[in-house]
């Protein structure tokens, strides 16, 4: 079954964003609105980078950090994100924090949130256009996807193996939803447990499947911080996921419980650590 796939790439937030639009083959060309909508999504993301980038001296977040402006006088999205980070710190029992060294630093939250916002505002509506089967956006490895209810299409997402760069460890299929991965592999240890200040080392990669990319991205970070403790999956807004331990152990969960695998059964009681 051949499909027309239209892909656009943009360089934003220090990584590569790509938008993929899947169309039925009987459509000779893409609807005109597709490229315009992708343009708007990328422009929206560029604007959010302008507000939230801690690497730009003139960003709203930098002005807040440097004491040049107060929260109430800055872009209102800053206050929205600050509130969301407070909620997340509570619901994750302190495993997530939007603050670092006393400063508001929501970089662990913004990419997933901003991508979902842009996707829902500008890309989700493409599903209603004639011939458009599905739309997906990949923000440097964090994905939000939409599929028309009656479309014969399912996204097949490859999950990169954090211990073998370039290899795919697992796949997940979804029609509507989000997949995000946090890890230590390529940039080295950089995720800090806000409860202790220590750099996390137990889990080298965590992938979370969720309805919303905002949740998937944030809870993938929580998963890395939580390490071998999987108790958080019971109450988190996630569908399923996968953890790769520093020793190569792979653990999976779905619907709030850990899933034992055939491998775990034959090679030993891997799952008993929880």
């Amino acid at each position: 079954m051949t499909r027309i796939r239209h892909t656009r790439i943009a360089h934003l937030m220090g990584t590569v964003f790509s938008v993929h639009v899947i169309c039925a083959p009987d459509r000779g060309r893409l609807p005109d609105d597709v490229d315009a909508a992708i343009d708007r999504a990328f422009a929206d993301l560029a604007d959010m980078e302008r507000v939230f980038s801690p690497f730009r001296a003139d960003s709203d977040i930098s002005r807040l950090r440097d004491g040049r402006a107060r929260l109430g006088h800055l872009d209102p999205r800053l206050a929205e994100v600050e509130m969301a980070c407070r909620d997340l710190a509570l619901s994750s029992a302190g495993r997530f924090s939007g603050w670092r060294d006393g400063w508001f630093d929501p970089t662990g939250y913004v990419k997933g949130w901003a991508t979902e916002q842009a996707a829902r505002s500008h890309l989700a509506g493409l599903i209603g256009l004639d011939g458009v089967l599905a739309v997906g956006i990949n923000a440097g490895g964090d994905i939000q996807a939409f599929t028309a209810p009656d479309a014969d299409w399912t996204w097949r997402i490859g999950i990169a193996d954090p211990r073998r760069p370039g290899s795919i460890l697992a796949t997940v299929e979804l029609r509507d939803g989000a997949v995000a991965t946090s890890g230590l592999a390529e940039r080295g240890a950089h995720i800090v447990d806000p409860r202790t200040g220590a750099t996390t080392v137990d889990v080298v990669g965590a992938t979370v499947v969720s309805d919303r990319l905002t949740d998937a991205d944030a809870w993938a970070t929580v998963a890395v911080v939580a390490g071998s403790d999987l108790s958080w999956v019971a109450d988190a807004p996630v569908r399923s996921g996968l953890l790769v331990g520093a020793d190569g152990t792979v653990r999976r969960f779905a619907d709030g419980i850990e899933i034992a695998t055939a491998d775990a059964f034959t090679t030993g009681p891997v799952a008993a650590a929880a």
Binding site: T7, H11, A160, S231, V250, E258, A260, A271
Partner: protein, 165 residues
Amino acid sequence: MKKIVIAVLATLSGLVLLFSYRTSLDQSISTAASTPAGGSPASADSTPAATPSASTPSSRASTPKAKAKPKSGLKDGTYTGQAVDTVYGPVEVQIRVSGGKITAASAPQYPQGSPRDQEINAQAIPMLITETTQASSSNIDMISGATYTSEGYIQSLQSALDQAK
């Protein structure tokens, strides 16, 4: 948590099959079969240089192939992906499609300016090339988890694949 795991283990045999084949819970993650690098259907080394689609290097070439249109839907030819800038420099991927399968992949353009670049490429690029055949054969649409050079490679690979479709 422990109790739940034990409960899961108790009904293990049925459950494992359920999840392995995704019959009912299509959002659960199924671990990919670990294909050793050399065992992939069409490895990058075995290129049918002169002969066209008839001589696919795979031993499975004898399966009824004449009537079946290549499952991947890829058209034969050589395709070069769009160059993608990464923080380490531009990455560009070229693939060769023969008999509907990717028979070769290379990165004609990739960052090699500094010793750090070379180190990253030594780690990432060769293994990524092996992955190309896997990604194609299993019809991966998007990759979660990759960053920087990997992401650039995947994007460029994606655009090469798009041209072949």
